[in-house]
Every structure is written in C-alpha cells, then in structure tokens.
Symmetry: C2
Subunit: 116 residues, 2 copies
C-alpha cells in the first residue's frame, strides 16, 4: 500500500502544445505500479489552461479548488468545487482557470496506458 | 460529458458481509458508460467500516472528510483528509471510521469490471 500527500509530490510543468501555466502531479502512475488507471492533480495558474484537444480515452475528474471552466465546442461551462466529471473519449475539451488572480486545481484520472 | 454533484447521487447501503454503517454513491460506473474505471464515494457513520477483506483488484482512494483509519494485518494507520492511497490487489484492508461521533467519507476508484 502506498499513501501520499499532495505536498510530497513534485509539480511538473505540462509541456503539451496548447497548455498554458499548468503543472501536473502524478499521484499514482506506472512508477507506482498502478495497474489500470492513473491519478493526477493539475494546478492552473491564474488564466492558465490545458490544451483544447481531443483524445480517444476518457477522463474522470474532480474540481478541487478555484474557478474552473470546462470549454467544449458548445461553449464554456463554469464548474464548482466538488463537481465531478466524466469526459468521454473523442469529446473535445479544455480545463480553463476563469480567475485572473487565483490558482485552481483539479484531480484527473485516465487509463494507465495514457499516463507517461 | 457528464457532470455530477455528490448531492445529486443516491447513497445506497453497502450490503457486503463485514460492512457496518457504510453507504456508497456510484459517481461514475457502468450505468454512465465509464469505460475503464469506476468512481465511488463511501460514507462511514460513526464507528462504521468496510469489510476487512482482500480482492484481486486495486483501489485508488482519497480521504474526503473525517478521521479514517486504514486497517491492515499490521495494524491501524490513521489517515488525514487529503491523503491519497493505492491499495494493491491482494492486500488485506479495511477503511474504518475512528470517530464515535462524526461521520467520515472517502472516494475510492476501482477497475470497471469490479463495479456492479
């Protein structure tokens, strides 16, 4: 069994094209022997966002702090802390920090094959 | 895309042998079309606990509220809100509410094949 706290995990900048001012902490991934799915926590600086992109696998996510909007081709949906999301494969999406002054964070899980 | 809040999900009693005063909310499971893994939130009444059991699949869990102890054959490890756990398959374990007065809750994810 592995127990972690968020403070003990290094935050790495997300280098993907289209990402802005985002870091990721891999809570449980291949390096921990996680067999099926990976748990990650992302932090968005004020105005930061993930890429507006699409991929063949799903996300399950939980909004942890701040004012995050989910951007889709239909527009931007504001989310509340505690909201839980299932983004299916092939749904275009972006997590965007709607605040210009406060950071925001969310947990996001993916199938293990898609976690580097 | 599906967005849920915890308040909108029915809490069902956990009927497993060895469980005491536990409810489960299935946030994302087979009924939502979740492809790979299921997200659930468990609430333990004061003194409540999950079964002290073992199974072939892993848990990834987050402590959400209250004073939860993780019971293993080595003893009971108190956990803090925000702690994140990877319980590997075949590791005997139990989530136990250590408080006699306050409820406690945790999020627990499993491979989809093991979510009814």
């Amino acid at each position: 069994m592995i127990v972690k706290t968020i403070e003990g995990i290094e935050a790495l900048p997300v280098q993907m094209e289209g990402a802005k001012d985002v870091t990721v902490r891999v809570v449980f991934g291949p390096g921990d022997g996680a067999p099926t799915f990976a748990m990650r926590v992302f932090e968005l600086a004020p105005g930061g966002h993930t890429p507006f992109h699409v991929h063949p696998f799903e996300h399950e996510a939980v909004i942890l702090s701040g004012r995050i909007g989910m951007v889709t081709p239909e527009g931007t949906r504001p989310l509340a802390v505690g909201d839980m999301l299932l983004v299916m494969g092939d749904e275009k999406h972006q997590f965007r920090n709607l605040s210009d002054t406060e950071s925001a964070s969310f947990m996001c899980l993916v199938p293990i094959a898609y976690q580097k």
